[in-house]
């Protein structure tokens, strides 16, 4: 610690900190533009000039290291003179038309100009004009307002991981641009809006629709990925106007993914359900809640009575709240069924009988910063968990974390991957076994007894070079973690991947866990929304169709491991009750009743994030139309069905009942042995990603996100050797077929796809006909 003096006040600050850091400790505000605590230091705006004892010139607080006994003045005459001078320079070419600028009211330049600017400008020449750029559907450019602080350039390079923006030209001609008028395609691009201290980068969907001071600020939690990003939702006249990050250093820092930020547009979508609907043959009848719920209760009761509880299945989106999931499973169980599941895209449930608890990340999110080795297994990390990927990226940049990967995909995560086993899905188990064998050899330890036999049968020869390299890398680490991603969870032999990850973690002295597919991938387990020993899981409920289904927040075609089969199973059922926020063709096709429940913004609820963090939130606006919070609808339904335990007054009461008070004791990734399954591969294997902006109904209905680069139509990606073997060229139109059906796509060369595989996105209307996310495909020229 060093002792220094700021404005006559003594403060103790850590070694190596800057005057700006010290001022923060001392509670002294120093005006600044280019400085941002999460970005590298530019020291270029010169607004934070301060006076330091013995320094002949004013020094920038953001870049000046503190030395013991230093005396700093931040308000002296010399400082104010310097800062006023800088402010004048910043303003001479800045359009002084705050009343028509979208940033007005939340502009750092405007705020600081009030303190340091002059009433009259001494600059009487023409102001510089800089042409606006088209950065895409999310970020709007007002280039003449730019003060060249380069926060945006540093953000794309350092945080988003790819330098998409640069400062071209020099002198006063310097301007911020992308290369050749490209759009900004980062999945984190919206943060540029928050970072820009002036009105040069603003939100395209939001701009000019409200003034910041008219908006209420309410806290919430993102309903999308498993990180549980903390939000500030801003509303006006009972409408969500925009979403900003709520800073939480343990979760999302001060960032949002674009999905978190812009999905609010879907809340006002025309596709929102606002009234209960009952099917009348081919048409739909709007009915009141009473009638709708009585209809549901009567029919569910009838089926339970006539065909037994097992004839009823409940399938819930993992984006549902803990409260919804808890009451849903309670309802189904009250009807005598154990058939409830929220793991809709999973296809291997063999771990269910042998798992010790709820699968989770296996570590705290914040501890990513302290890892030195990370093995990511079967993940589209960057798009599936953008801010977790960001945290990994920072740990690589700052702390020397080394990341390795196993999987059939090698798209750019914008962070260096040290070792990679690019293998087809069917070879992933063998690869993990190989890593375990190699690691055991390096450590001089034996494999777990239960696995020795499997190895003898499977790995046979030596571990592959890639497996060896990964083992080597893990062996050299002190703090090791393994993460299983969405592809691993959705894998046909996902349970075996879990078993082997557990073994590698044991041998490597590290942790292992799941990144998680959705906001409540952990919460669903804790809420009991999984089948009991006698129940049927999500896959069994489709394979063996039931007479009645309750669907919660999911679309049959797009949110399941096999959309086509799900549509077929539900289509054949006697009764399908669909609770959801959105209307959708595949719901209309199969449902008998559609009950409008509210999205996260209109209900109280809870998500448990991947690290087991329980995050509750309240409604920020009133329900749209006649939509009602899902937990309330389920509670009423429980009462109508005369099932006991549906008398909770508040969402908090439901949550407390659902989660109890010792969450951490219930988080456990341990599994005992799962018998190896043999897969015989004859054709091309499908690699199915769930594109970031198609993962859940909310984001699918967000118009601006649907215009972004991440919403591009699916293609059939193959490595060059795979294309060659098929006699295809990149760009050819091809027919892709599975046992379930066929679709026509464009073939695209992508050497980030394992040989013998075709990467075709799921969760998209254009590929639903292909059926399962996993399995084999054939590809031929049209």
């Amino acid at each position: 610690m060093l002792e220094i003096e700021i404005d006559g006040k003594a403060v103790q600050v850590p070694d190596g900190c800057t005057v700006m850091d010290a001022a923060t400790v001392a509670g002294v505000h120093i005006p600044h533009f280019c400085y941002h605590k999460k970005l590298s230091i530019a020291a270029s705006c010169r607004m934070c000039l301060v006076q330091v004892e013995k320094a002949p010139k004013p020094l920038p607080a953001c870049a000046t290291p503190v030395t013991g006994g230093m005396k700093v003045w931040t308000q002296s005459e010399a400082v104010v003179k310097a800062q006023r001078g800088v402010m004048e320079f910043l303003l001479i070419n800045h359009p002084l038309d705050c009343p028509i600028c979208d940033q007005g009211g939340e502009c750092q330049l405007q705020d600081i100009a009030v303190g340091y600017g002059d009433v009259q400008s001494r600059y009487q020449e023409e102001k510089r004009v800089v042409f606006n750029k088209n950065f895409g559907p999310l970020v709007s450019s007002d280039a003449s307002r730019c003060i060249n602080c380069t926060r945006c350039v540093r953000f794309t390079t350092e945080i988003a991981g790819l330098m998409e923006l640069g400062q071209a030209n020099r002198s006063e001609h310097a301007e911020i641009m992308t290369f050749v008028e490209r759009t900004i395609d980062s999945e984190l691009s919206g943060n540029l809006i928050d970072l820009c201290p002036v009105g040069a980068l603003t939100s395209k969907p939001f701009r000019f629709s409200a003034r910041s001071w008219e908006l209420s600020r309410l806290r919430s939690v993102s309903p999308h990925d498993a990180l549980g990003t903390n939000l500030i939702v801003q509303t006006r006249h009972d409408k969500v106007k925009r979403v900003l990050p709520f800073e939480n250093s343990a979760v999302n820092d001060c960032w949002l993914s674009d999905k978190d930020r812009f999905s609010y547009e879907a809340l006002a979508s025309d596709a929102r359900l606002t009234q209960p609907l009952i099917r009348q043959g081919e048409t739909w009848q709007e009915v009141g809640w009473q009638e709708a719920l009585e209809f549901v209760a009567t029919h569910l009761q009838g089926i339970a009575r006539e065909r037994g509880g097992d004839a009823i299945g409940a399938l819930a989106s993992p984006h549902s709240t803990v409260e919804e999931l808890f009451l849903l499973q309670k309802l189904v169980r009250g009807l005598g069924s154990q058939n409830v599941d929220f793991r809709l895209r999973q296809s291997d449930f063999r771990a269910d009988p042998v798992r010790a608890g709820a699968p989770w990340l296996g570590m705290a999110v914040a501890d990513v910063d302290t890892l030195d080795r990370l093995l990511v297994i079967g993940s589209f990390l960057r798009k599936d968990a953008p801010l977790l990927a960001q945290r990994v990226r920072q740990a690589v940049r700052r702390n020397g974390l080394q990341v390795s990967a196993v999987g059939p995909n090698a798209e750019d995560w914008l962070l260096p991957v040290r070792e990679r086993a690019l293998v087809a899905p069917a070879d992933m188990v063998d690869t993990l076994a190989g890593i375990a064998v190699a690691l055991a050899a390096k450590r001089g330890e034996a494999l777990a007894e239960a696995l020795v036999e499997d190895v003898a049968a499977r790995v046979g020869g030596e571990p592959s070079a890639a497996a060896n390299a990964i083992a080597e890398n893990l062996a050299s680490g002190e703090k090791v973690a393994l993460w299983l991603g969405n592809l691993a969870v959705q894998h046909a032999r996902g349970a075996e991947l879990q078993v082997w990850a557990q073994e590698i973690a044991r041998l490597g002295g590290g942790s292992f866990g799941f990144i998680g597919e959705a906001a409540n991938s952990v919460g669903g387990y804790l809420a009991g929304a999984v089948p009991g020993a006698q129940g049927a899981d999500a896959q069994a409920l489709i394979r063996t169709p039931r007479a009645a289904y309750v669907l919660l927040g999911a679309e049959p075609a797009l949110d399941f491991a096999d959309g086509a089969a799900t549509e077929a199973a539900l289509g054949a059922a006697a009764l399908v009750v669909a609770l959801g926020a959105f209307d959708a063709p595949s719901i209309r096709n199969v449902a008998d009743v559609m009950l409008p429940i509210t999205p996260f913004s209109e209900t109280a609820g809870t998500f448990v994030n991947c690290e087991g963090r329980v995050q509750s939130f309240n409604a920020v606006v009133q329900p749209l139309g006649n939509a009602r919070p899902g937990w309330k609808v389920l509670r009423v339904l429980g009462n109508l069905l005369e099932i006991s335990g549906f008398s909770q007054e508040t969402a908090e009461a439901v949550r407390d009942e659902a989660l109890g008070d010792n969450i951490s004791a219930r988080l456990d990734n341990a599994v005992t042995r799962v018998a190896p399954a043999r897969t015989v591969v004859t054709g091309l294997q499908r690699v199915a990603d769930v594109p970031i902006h198609f993962a859940d109904p909310l984001v699918r209905h967000a118009p601006s996100l649907q215009k972004s680069g991440d919403a591009a139509a699916p293609v059939a990606r193959m490595a060059q050797p795979t294309l060659d073997a098929l006699g295809l060229n990149s760009g050819d139109r091809v027919r892709v077929s599975s046992g379930a059906g066929q679709v026509e796509l464009t073939a695209v060369v992508d050497d980030g796809v394992a040989r013998g595989c075709v990467r075709v996105a799921a969760a998209h209307p254009a590929t639903v006909a292909l059926g399962p996310l996993v399995g084999e495909l054939s590809v031929e020229r049209v």
Binding site: R46, A63, G85, V86, I92, R122, N148, E172, H173
Partner: protein
């Protein structure tokens, strides 16, 4: 006579730049001796300190002291950079050193690398002198072939690789940290210091940067001894210095003189003021140095301390001579345009202020000046000065401040009368194409 040329001695233009010529002049003897005697690096640095050599690029920082800043026990690469990005108006000495005596720079750099334990070096050569860059590449090839550069220099344990990096048109890369950025393949925007290059230079590794002429002086210091070099000049101003004299003189060119030589002597060597006209003003150290009126400079000796005492800087030793035909407003307008054009655009005062300065001077020159413009000029220049990341802000402000200070009347006349104090026909004489008969 105060001229004992070292660097430029014995040269015959394009005919004597090759390795064999340099060796014939006694070149590489200093290096050979160091290698043969295994001279301890500390002794070399001590010799450098004794020489009183001050950086020839402009700032005049004692070179031996700078060398002593390099960390001794740094594991991994340490870098050496030569700053041949000579683009300060008035300065043209490094070009002549590189094309007529490139091996003296190479030898100087190898010795410096030996003294500081550097493993790699780059000579950053100004963009507009491509032919000089090509010649330097040839000289490097000669040195490599002769075992004077590369692995196991002169069959010793000492290895040092040296390469030429060619600029492409940016004055700012003469600023040492902009030069480092440029070597890294980025635009040349200066870095904030600290950290200083000695701890965080090229690729974040310890780096020492010296000017071409500084390195060129090293072999002579090591062969003749630091004290002898010091004695060529004045205390604290050791050695010889190449002065580039340009503008209104009869024989513009480079003249290597002992530091402390009277200005009048240099002027005489350059053939005096052109056309017998009267000397008006001199910028003694490159365009960034404050201008001095004739009467002040005529009493000066050419050394760091004397010029500094007179209110300017010796800088790079670039002497720009202006006679009575010069309109000082027009002269300043052109210089201010230069700084405006060459500002890197990074920090606010320089990016915004240099254009403002130029526009004010431009309107004064074009008869649109306003009564308070001189105050405005002083104020804007004052707001740039000392507030920027690098010295370009100061460099842009100093000419403005000094021109207005010494020639305020001329500026005021422009504002008041919307025309120049120097009649156009006289100005026309001074701006005619002039080529010295010897060229």
């Amino acid at each position: 006579m105060s001229a004992h040329p070292l660097i430029l001695a014995g040269l015959d233009g394009d005919r004597t730049w090759r390795l064999q010529d340099y060796v014939a002049r006694g070149g590489y003897e200093a290096l050979k001796k160091i290698i043969r005697d295994k001279t301890p690096p500390d002794e070399i640095i001590a010799e450098m300190k004794a020489s009183g050599l001050r950086g020839r690029g402009g700032a005049g920082f004692p070179s031996g002291l700078k060398w002593s800043f390099m960390p001794r026990s740094f594991p991994g690469d340490k870098y050496l950079a030569c700053n041949s990005d000579e683009g300060e108006p008035g300065t043209f000495k490094d070009r002549d050193i590189l094309r007529y005596n490139p091996h003296t720079v190479i030898e100087g750099m190898v010795i410096a690398a030996y003294a500081m334990g550097c493993t790699r070096g780059y000579n950053y050569i100004h963009g507009e002198i491509f032919e000089v860059y090509q010649r330097f590449e040839e000289a490097l090839a000669e040195a490599r072939a002769a075992g004077l550069l590369g692995q196991h220099i002169l069959r010793s344990d000492f290895s040092f690789d040296l390469f030429a990096h060619h600029g492409y048109g940016a004055y700012i890369c003469g600023e040492e940290t902009a030069l480092l950025e440029s070597i890294e393949g980025k635009k040349g925007q200066p870095r904030f210091k600290p950290p200083f290059p000695a701890s965080f230079g090229i690729y974040g590794k310890p780096t020492t940067i010296n000017n071409t002429e500084t390195f060129a002086s090293v072999p002579f210091i090591l062969s003749g001894g630091g004290e002898a070099f010091q004695n060529l000049g004045k205390p604290n101003n050791g050695g010889t210095k190449i002065f580039s004299i340009s503008g209104h003189v009869n024989r513009p060119g480079n003249y290597e003189l002992n530091l402390g030589t009277p200005f009048s002597e240099l002027l005489a060597l350059a053939g005096g003021v052109r056309g017998g006209r009267k000397l008006k003003a001199v910028i003694p150290g490159g365009s960034s140095a404050p201008v001095l009126p004739a009467n002040v400079i005529m009493d000066c000796t050419l050394d760091y301390d004397a010029i500094s005492k007179a209110g300017s800087m010796l800088g790079s030793g670039a002497v720009i001579v202006m006679d009575e035909s010069t309109c000082m407003v027009k002269a300043l307008e052109r210089l201010s345009y230069f700084y405006h054009e060459e500002s890197c655009g990074q920090c606010t005062p320089c990016r915004e202020g240099t254009g403002w300065l130029y526009r004010i001077i431009h309107r004064i020159e074009h008869g649109l000046g306003r009564a308070d413009d001189l105050d405005l000029l002083r104020s804007v220049a004052g707001n740039i000065s000392g507030r920027t990341i690098c010295a370009l802000g100061d460099a842009a402000a100093m000419p403005v401040q000094s021109f207005v200070k010494h020639f305020g009347d001329e500026f005021a006349y422009h504002v008041e009368h919307k025309k120049c104090l120097v009649p156009p026909e006289i100005q026309a004489v001074g701006s005619q194409i002039y080529v010295s008969p010897s060229c």
